[in-house]
């Protein structure tokens, strides 16, 4: 469900490989994110470009994983969002808590300056 595509000293870039993220896979998605945080202890740049469908269960899992990351003094940064998913995130104001970039390279550059 999540594959690591790139790593730096401070971050890992992880690609979400599913196209539909809903309540049937949101628990597994969160568990994989938590595992990545535990194993690598780095900021996760999460590339969501494959995702075409998300629901509130997925967004809840994402927020829950972000809380865990912050508790470890890490972060989850979002990249590659389709415009409708980005609009949904803005609709419920989650753009106030997630750092969002268009491309992974842009996020990697920003993370390296954190």
């Amino acid at each position: 469900m999540i594959n690591i595509s790139n790593q730096g000293p401070k971050f890992i870039t992880a690609e979400v490989t599913i196209t539909e993220a809903n309540l049937s896979n949101s628990d597994e998605f969160k568990a994989e994110l938590v595992k990545l945080l535990d194993e690598h202890n780095k900021i996760i740049i999460l590339d969501l470009q494959e995702l075409k469908y998300v629901d509130s269960a997925f967004l809840g899992a994402l927020v829950s994983a972000l809380k865990y990351a912050i508790s470890l003094k890490l972060d989850i940064v979002l990249v590659g969002l389709r415009s409708d998913i980005r609009d949904l995130i803005k609709l419920i104001r989650l753009d106030k808590v997630f750092k969002i970039y268009n491309y992974a390279e842009e996020a990697q550059f920003a993370v390296n300056k954190f």
């Binding site: 539909e20 809903n22 309540l23 049937s24 469908y53 629901d55 509130s56 269960a57 967004l59 809840g60 899992a61 927020v63 829950s64 972000l66 809380k67 912050i70 409708d84 609009d87 949904l88 609709l91 419920i92 104001r93 989650l94 106030k96 808590v97």
Partner: protein, 183 residues
């Protein structure tokens, strides 16, 4: 000019397997009925997130039966979901009486980003509204809630209600979208 009234019905099996096909079928119906001059992109975006959450709600709460979706295109766009799952606690809550005055407006959830309210309009019906919070009280992401379904629908719709029908034991979520933005 208001479009001619047209309606579609879809019976959803409350399983995740049929989610995308059901969503696409309903969006195709809506897409072909958006009147000229309306913001089609906005209508389709809001319809998509509303139907997505109603489908998710059906899977989570409607039980093993089926859920009826009705989409009606007339002076506005109506999206209605009917199931026979357990009634929503908001209409069985005696601490939250129906009637006039401020005490029929109940805060359902709130965090530094958003607040969601239910206004109890009568014994069996509530109307949902939402407000943006000020962010002044934002201390950490720990304060952010993790349940967004009703909030997404409330934020995307022009009217969003829930009615419990005692006679049939049916739950009806009803959403309206205006074709044209109000000035």
């Amino acid at each position: 000019m208001a479009p001619r009234a047209e309606k579609m019905e879809l019976e959803f099996n409350n399983g995740t397997g049929g989610l995308i096909a059901s969503l696409q079928q309903m969006l195709e119906f809506i897409s072909g009925r958006i009147p000229s001059g309306a913001d089609a992109e906005d209508i389709l975006f809001r319809s998509k997130v509303i139907i997505t959450e109603l489908l998710t709600n059906a899977i989570k709460h409607a039980g093993k039966g089926t859920t009826l979706f009705e989409i009606e295109s007339s002076a506005c766009l109506s999206i209605r979901k009917t199931d026979k799952g357990a009634p929503l606690y908001l209409v069985t809550d005696n601490d939250h009486p129906a009637g006039s005055g401020s005490n029929n407006k109940k805060l359902i959830s709130a965090d530094p980003l958003n607040a969601l309210f239910a206004i109890r309009e009568n014994e069996n019906r509530v109307r949902f509204t939402s407000e943006e919070s000020s962010m002044d009280d934002f201390l950490s992401v720990e304060q952010v809630m993790e349940h967004f379904g009703l909030l997404i629908i409330a934020r995307s719709s022009d009217e969003f209600t829930y009615t419990y029908h005692n006679d049939t034991g049916s739950n009806v979520f009803s959403v309206s979208l205006n074709w044209y933005a109000e000035n």
